[in-house]
Structure formats: structure tokens, C-alpha cells
């Protein structure tokens, strides 16, 4: 903790824990259940010191499946429930995330992405879990995924993730990558209002004798109702929680004059730092280039992207995977051309590489 105007040097992984503390305030209990995995282990290291000191609970579970389940259980009691992992653990947590969505437990799941598939590159970055974060559960479930690109933003988005999960009673994923997780930046730890808890009728241990089940259930009592009508009602209700508020939840940032740009680069996470540097250089050369950075990967800012499509131009989706978010961009771009700028992991593009790609597209146009 620091004074108002003094900055603290923290890694992205450290900032996650500070964000949780901001969200919990002085009174809420934080329950952290995790399993060690590179490059997310430092979150657990810091959490194991700071959370018990604040009267919360830190536990190192036997595996990631246990971690997400413990978080889902803790979420039902009104605590700030959180787990952190990386790709392989995130795969194991898929079922638990669906369970948390089904029983409407507010859980924050942090995924510090590394190179995949499988064990891949534990100590090097990747962005290959974006589609898994959206679809990595059987059945349809509401999904919010936040992607920070700096240490300061990691703190703020951790806070935001807690807030959204408590508001909509769903699991929210915060997708860092190894670069953001391990990078150190001076940040200010802000005074943020503790986030409001879910109403008592949604919390166990308050005398309401709740039943929560992973089976299809009715919306009033949550008692199992296994029939197509109940399923229709339930799943639509779950999805509508996010769908009807998507406009409020969606966040993105643009850089450069988007309207008259000939090339727009769409990116997120640490890759966006390179893109911003490249766009600055390109604009110095009077190239009409702009950047759009996704802060919520899901829900996807589809209205904004659709609006961009009024003009015919090139969209370059820069990401460290084989083109996962490009698929989503392609769904909303009908007039322009969508192309990928991809690396398979380990590093982000250098600004020079991106500038080169921009210039190539510019000469294509002429």
C-alpha cells in the first residue's frame, strides 16, 4: 500500500492481488483457492501473504478442478471468490466455470496466458485461450472476459471483474498474458469503493435454505426441473443477464483517428502496446492508421465494429495465436477486408514488424 501520490513498483501478477483488496474493502472476506502454475504462481505467492493478513482465506488446492470448485462454493457465501491459473489449468477449470455460471456463483478466474497447446511454453507469453474463454464449457453460458494491457489496468480490471461477477452472479475471466503478468511498472493503488455484495437471498448461511444445483432447474427455487421448457427458460435467462446489458459492459479503446483510417489494427493485451508504438510511428509518416484495443474481449464490441464497416478498408487483427479474435471480427465486417497478423506465441510483434505490415497493406491499396 502506498500514499496517495506515491507509486508502487508491481508486476501484473502482484497487481491482481491489490485489485482484489480494493474490491473487498475492509469488511468482505476474500477466498483464494489456487494451484501453482507458471506464469501465474506469483499471484498465489502474494495472495498467500496478503489475504490471510486481511482476515481472508488462502488455500492451495490439490488441482485446478478443486480450485475452481472451491471458488464457486465460496462465491455462494458472499465472499470475493477467486482463482488464478494459466492455460493448462484453465482447460481443467472449464467444467467448473460452467458450474459456477449454472449455480450463479460470482467467481473471478484469472488466466495468465502462456504458449500452448498442452504444456507449450510455460515461461513465454501467448494469447491462445481467447476462444476457450468464450466457448470452453459444454452448453451455453454467459461470459465476461476482460483483457488488460498494463499493470495499472490489471489492478483496475481485477476490481472490475469482481464488480461484474457480483452484479451478474457469473464467473468472470481476467485474461492476462505472461508479459503483463511478469512486467513491472510503477502504479498508484487507488481508493476504490468496496463493491456491493449480492442480496442476502442469494447467499447461503443467511437462513434462506437455498438449493443450488448444476441440473436444469426452475428460476424461483432452483429445484431440478428436467424438461425442455425449464431448459429453455433457464438458459435464456442465464444468457440474457449479459446480453441485455452487453452495451453497458463492453469496453474498448481506440487510438488515432478511426473514422478516416485506411488500416485499422484490432488487438488486445500486451500485443496492443506494440501496436500503439507502431501506429504512432505510422502517423508520423502521415499514414492513415488507427488502432482499436479490446478491453472486454467478451462481450465483443460488435456494434462499434459494425459501425466501422461503413467505410471500405483493411482491418488487421494482431494477436499471438492463429487468428482467434479475427474470426469474431470477420463476423461483423462485410465491406472491408479482414486480415490477421499472427505469431504463435513466445513473443509479441515488435513495433517495426507491425509498421512493416501496415506499409504493406497501404501499398496493396494503391
Amino acid at each position: 500500500m502506498s500514499d496517495d501520490n506515491q507509486r508502487t513498483l508491481l508486476t501484473g501478477n502482484d497487481a491482481v492481488v491489490e485489485g482484489l483488496c480494493c474490491a473487498a474493502g475492509n469488511k468482505r472476506r476474500i477466498v483464494y483457492a489456487g494451484y501453482p502454475i507458471t506464469p501465474a504462481s506469483e499471484i498465489a505467492t502474494r495472495a498467500s501473504v496478503i489475504i490471510p493478513r486481511r482476515g481472508g482465506a488462502f488455500i492451495q488446492m490439490e488441482d485446478e478442478i478443486g480450485s475452481i470448485q472451491a471458488a464457486a462454493g465460496a462465491g455462494l457465501t458472499g465472499a470475493i471468490a477467486v482463482t488464478a491459473t494459466s492455460g493448462p489449468g484453465f482447460s481443467l477449470m472449464s467444467e467448473g466455470l460452467g458450474f459456477a455460471a449454472m449455480i450463479e456463483s460470482p467467481v473471478v478466474c484469472i488466466n495468465v496466458q502462456r504458449g500452448g497447446p498442452s504444456t507449450g511454453m510455460p515461461t513465454w507469453m501467448g494469447q491462445g485461450d481467447m476462444m476457450q474463454a468464450r466457448w470452453g464449457t459444454h452448453g451455453d453460458r454467459p461470459v465476461i472476459v476482460l483483457v488488460p494491457n498494463s499493470v495499472q489496468e490489471t489492478l483496475l480490471l481485477t476490481y472490475e471483474a469482481c464488480k461484474l461477477s457480483q452484479k451478474y452472479l457469473i464467473p468472470v475471466a481476467l485474461m492476462l498474458d505472461e508479459i503483463i503478468g511478469h512486467m513491472e511498472e510503477p502504479i498508484t493503488i487507488p481508493e476504490l469503493p468496496p463493491i456491493p455484495s449480492a442480496p442476502d437471498v442469494e447467499i447461503i448461511g443467511k437462513g434462506h435454505r437455498l438449493h443450488r444445483t448444476g441440473l436444469t432447474h426452475d428460476l424461483e427455487m432452483h429445484l431440478p426441473r428436467i424438461n425442455p421448457d425449464a431448459q429453455e427458460k433457464l438458459v435464456r435467462y442465464l444468457l440474457d443477464k449479459i446480453k441485455k446489458d452487453a452495451k453497458k459492459i463492453v469496453r474498448y479503446e481506440s487510438f488515432g483517428a478511426v473514422e478516416d483510417a485506411e488500416v485499422i489494427i484490432i488487438c488486445y493485451g500486451s500485443e496492443s502496446r506494440s501496436v500503439r508504438a507502431a501506429v504512432k510511428q505510422a502517423r508520423k509518416k502521415k499514414l492513415k492508421v488507427a488502432m482499436v484495443r479490446l478491453i472486454t474481449a467478451w462481450p465483443f464490441p460488435k456494434d462499434f465494429i459494425r459501425k466501422l464497416d461503413k467505410k471500405k478498408r483493411v482491418y488487421l487483427v494482431a494477436e499471438i495465436n492463429a487468428g482467434q479474435m479475427r474470426i469474431e471480427v470477420e463476423r461483423y465486417i462485410k465491406n472491408g477486408t479482414v486480415q490477421g497478423l499472427n505469431l504463435m506465441g513466445g513473443r509479441i510483434h515488435t513495433p517495426g514488424e507491425i509498421l512493416e505490415a501496415i506499409e504493406e497493406r497501404m501499398s496493396d491499396d494503391n
Binding site: I59, M61, L223, R273
Partner: protein, 479 residues
């Protein structure tokens, strides 16, 4: 007798003693007519009532399977979790709200099969959670496949000619895993089971009861008339149990029922919370510095060397010093090292900028601090440096021939930092010997800002040595 009174007494008669703890809207239940899970549910209610627990503070968590459906019929806070995951879910509840009484209900397949890892870990974690495991020797809900407790030779729909697998002994596993309460009972001995449940819930550590229950599907496939009759015939409730009794869980050989362990919770070391020693160190040495606008627009600094030379700590010292010097300066620190902690290549990149830093890696350093030549050699002997850059090199560790073909405009400063550190202090402070020299020959960062940063970055207890190493480097003069 007045009419009012008779109505009141009628109501009393109509009210089932368990009514408050059952969800009427869920009845009738899904269990087969000869199943005894319903009886376990009732013994559980009886145990809670006898203990006088506040039902509002009791939570039942279950997984998937026949017996896991109990959670739905109890009018308590209840969670019907995913297959095998009742124990971790219960653990989450207990950690978040320790005043709740948390019980896990499930079958042998759920708790010992798919959830086996969680079952083992709970014994070790030692939290006050009660696990009531109904053992019916297989997976009944899906048509009776073999499970972890299926007896050797028993027929199931996935072992049609008899199970070739040796079953596990749940009581033995629980004892080995460190459960503080372990018991065995059957559905045919409800009063014994109630007593076991009461003792289990009174125990302050993890408790486990194996409850043998009959399953019609098992009976039919294995041509057994009545498992219940076998339980009644073969089971013996024992006051004191020997090691031999642990293995008497196979109903064909004989069943020993009773409490195998009811131990107090292990004494845990008191949590001593980590205290920061940094503040006292800072007070002791008292280094004051003045912050000012540094005038740095954009500067790329790289420190490279071998893992174990304090490269990461050096980078951290630099960025902290920059923060001391100019609080408005933007900066990032990134590190790259191989899989080995010591002996591999290692580098840290520090970027200082008046604008927010975009790309967080150094492309062409303005200041390069070479603690060893391992990184340059991995690069094929190439030293990357900006034309007007500065290289500060540990000449006791770097092959100086690597620096021969640099442009004339590059300034090179040499110091045998590792040698100085080895002779005067310890090798680990070589980074700060070099840092002191850097401070002297370049005017990038103010001396006191750097010294204050060294205090902050140095491991507790080593402040003095690190500062001395820094001074040594600062005063270094080529002889």
C-alpha cells in the same frame, strides 16, 4: 376439549418431526423402492436434530450420483455440485464462512473414484468437513458400471464376466489420508449410524464415514437375494476395533462396524504473519534524496549477464531509482531468462520515458550493462548498442574482444566488478559494484536516488553490504 385445542393437537399430529428439514416440493424422491439412501437422509436429519444444530447454519454439498441427490431433498442450504467435486466445493464454503457446519454426501464412485484426489487432500488440509460416503459398490445411476469399491469378481455392466480389479478399502484410505474421524456403518444399522454421524460432526477435523448400502442393480446382476440381509447377518458392531477390522469391509467375508479413529485435531503451528523489515532498514540508513524533473525523453537500458549475478535485482534497483528521481517518469521493467535459475542467460530491460511506455522491451539500448558475455555469445557474439550509447562492462567476466568492432561513438567503461565483489564482499553484490560505477561514469541517475533504491531492492539483512559495494564501485579508479 374445545374445538381450538383439538385443531391444534391435530396439527401437531400432522406435522412430521422431520418436516422442517425436508423439501416437500421435491417429493416423491427418485430412489428405487428397495434403496436405502432415503434412510441415510433420515438418519442425518435425526443426527442434526439430536445435536441441536441450527439448520440455517448447516450446509450439505453433494456431487453426482444416486446418493448425491440427498442434497435436493434436504431443506437446508445445499449445493448439488458436479461429479466428484463435492469436497472442494464444500471446502470453499467452509473457508468463506467458518461458522457453517458443512457436510458432504456422496457415493463411492463420486467421492473415491472421480473425486479421489479431493478426498485425499481434505485429510491433509484438515478442515472441519464431514464426508458421508454411501458405498453401494458401483455406479448405480448410469446402470451399474464397476467402481473403485466393486468387489473382485463382481458382475457389473462393464465387467460382465466379473470384475478383475481389486477394490480399494475406503476406511483404510481415510485413515492413511489423515482424517481425524473414521467410521464404518451400514444402512441396516440406523441407530449405530446416527451415533457415528453425531460423533463425526462433533469432531473438529475432517471426518469420514463409510456407509454400506444395498443396491438392487448389484443384487440382480450378482444373483444376491438381499444385501440388507447380508449386512444384518455379517456385520458386527464393535466397541474397540483392531487393525484387522479395517480390512473387514468386504461383506462376503465379514463386516466390522464402528469408529476406527476419533482423534483431536492436530495442533497447527500458529500463523505468524510475515512482517516487513524494509521500513526499519530504511530508517537505519537514512538516505534522503531530492526528486526533480529528469528531462529524460526516452531511454532504453539493458542489464545482461548470467543467472545468479543479480541481473533482475539490478534492473529493479534502476527502475526504483528512476522512480525516486522523477516520480512523473514512466517506466517498465521486463526480464528474460532461460529455464534454469542459475547459470543461464538472463537480461532485464528498463525503459524510461516521459510518455507512457508502449513496447516494453529494449530494441537498441542506450545504456548496456554487461555483467557477463553469455547473452552476447548466444546472439552469435553480437553486441547491440545504439550509436551514441554507453556500455559498462564487467571486465572480469566479459571477453573484451566482443567489443572490438563497435562504432567509435560508443563509450565503453570497464570495471572488474565481480572480482572486486569476490575480494571484498560476496559475489552476489557484483551488480551493485557495477551500479556504483555506472552512477559515476554516466549522469543518468542521481547517486542518493540509487542508494535509496538499493536499500529497497536488497534482500533484508544485506543492505549494508550492498551499499558498501555500491560505494566501492562509485569510487573505483583504474590503477
Amino acid at each position: 376439549m374445545t374445538t381450538d385445542q383439538s385443531e391444534e393437537s391435530n396439527m401437531e399430529i400432522n406435522q412430521h418431526p422431520y418436516a422442517d428439514l425436508l423439501r416437500k416440493e421435491m417429493m416423491p424422491n427418485i430412489w428405487c423402492s428397495s434403496c436405502r439412501i432415503g434412510r441415510i437422509k433420515n438418519t442425518f436429519i435425526e443426527a442434526i436434530q439430536q445435536l441441536g444444530y441450527d439448520p440455517d447454519k448447516c450446509v450439505v454439498v453433494s456431487g453426482i450420483g444416486c446418493s448425491s441427490r440427498i442434497a435436493g431433498y434436504l431443506n437446508l442450504d445445499s449445493i448439488h455440485a458436479t461429479h466428484g467435486r463435492a469436497i472442494p466445493t464444500a471446502l470453499g464454503v467452509k473457508l468463506a464462512n467458518p461458522e457453517l457446519k458443512v457436510c458432504v454426501m456422496g457415493g463411492d464412485g463420486d467421492i473415491l473414484g472421480i473425486g479421489g484426489n479431493h478426498f485425499l487432500a481434505l485429510g491433509r488440509h484438515g478442515h472441519d468437513i464431514n464426508v458421508f460416503c454411501m458405498n453401494n459398490f458401483g455406479y448405480s445411476m448410469t446402470g451399474f458400471q464397476h467402481g473403485p469399491t466393486t468387489p473382485l469378481g463382481a458382475r457389473t455392466i462393464t465387467t460382465s464376466s466379473g470384475s478383475p480389479y481389486v477394490p480399494i478399502n475406503p476406511v483404510a484410505v481415510a485413515l492413511a489420508a489423515g482424517y481425524t474421524f473414521v467410521a464404518r456403518s451400514t444402512s441396516s444399522h440406523p441407530y449405530h449410524l446416527i451415533d457415528c454421524m453425531i460423533s463425526a460432526m462433533k469432531n473438529r477435523g475432517p471426518s469420514f464415514i463409510e456407509i454400506l448400502i444395498p443396491c438392487m442393480l448389484y443384487e440382480r446382476r450378482n444373483k444376491i437375494k438381499s444385501l440388507e440381509a447380508i449386512f444384518l447377518e455379517k456385520a458386527k458392531i464393535k466397541e474397540t476395533l483392531s487393525e484387522e477390522d479395517i480390512n473387514q469391509g468386504d461383506f462376503m467375508k465379514g463386516i466390522s462396524l464402528g469408529i476406527f479413529r476419533d482423534a483431536p485435531v492436530r495442533e497447527r503451528p500458529r500463523l505468524s504473519l510475515v512482517k516487513s523489515t524494509k521500513k526499519t532498514a530504511a530508517k537505519k540508513f537514512r538516505i534522503s534524496f531530492k526528486s526533480r524533473a529528469s528531462g529524460i525523453k526516452y531511454m532504453q537500458i539493458r542489464m545482461e549477464g548470467t543467472g545468479g549475478q543479480g541481473i533482475v535485482q539490478g534492473g529493479k534497483t534502476l527502475i526504483l531509482a528512476a522512480m525516486n528521481m522523477d516520480p512523473k517518469l514512466n517506466s517498465t521493467l521486463t526480464k528474460r531468462y532461460g529455464p534454469e535459475m542459475k547459470g543461464g542467460s538472463c537480461l532485464t530491460d528498463v525503459l524510461l520515458s516521459s510518455q507512457p511506455v508502449d513496447y516494453p522491451f529494449v530494441e537498441v539500448p542506450d545504456l548496456l550493462m554487461m555483467m557477463s558475455d553469455i547473452v552476447a555469445k548466444e546472439r552469435g557474439g553480437k553486441v547491440i548498442i545504439s550509436d551514441k550509447g554507453t556500455i559498462v562492462v564487467d571486465e572480469s567476466m566479459v571477453d573484451l574482444r566482443l567489443l572490438r568492432n563497435l562504432p567509435k561513438t560508443v563509450k565503453v567503461f570497464k570495471i572488474p566488478a565481480t572480482q572486486i565483489a569476490r575480494e571484498n564482499f560476496r559475489v552476489v553484490v557484483a551488480n551493485n559494484v557495477l551500479m556504483g560505477f555506472v552512477c559515476k561514469v554516466t549522469s543518468i541517475i542521481d547517486k542518493n536516488c540509487l542508494k535509496a533504491a538499493i536499500l529497497k531492492a536488497a534482500p533484508p539483512g544485506t543492505e549494508e553490504m550492498n551499499l558498501a559495494a555500491f560505494e566501492r564501485g562509485y569510487k573505483f579508479r583504474k590503477s
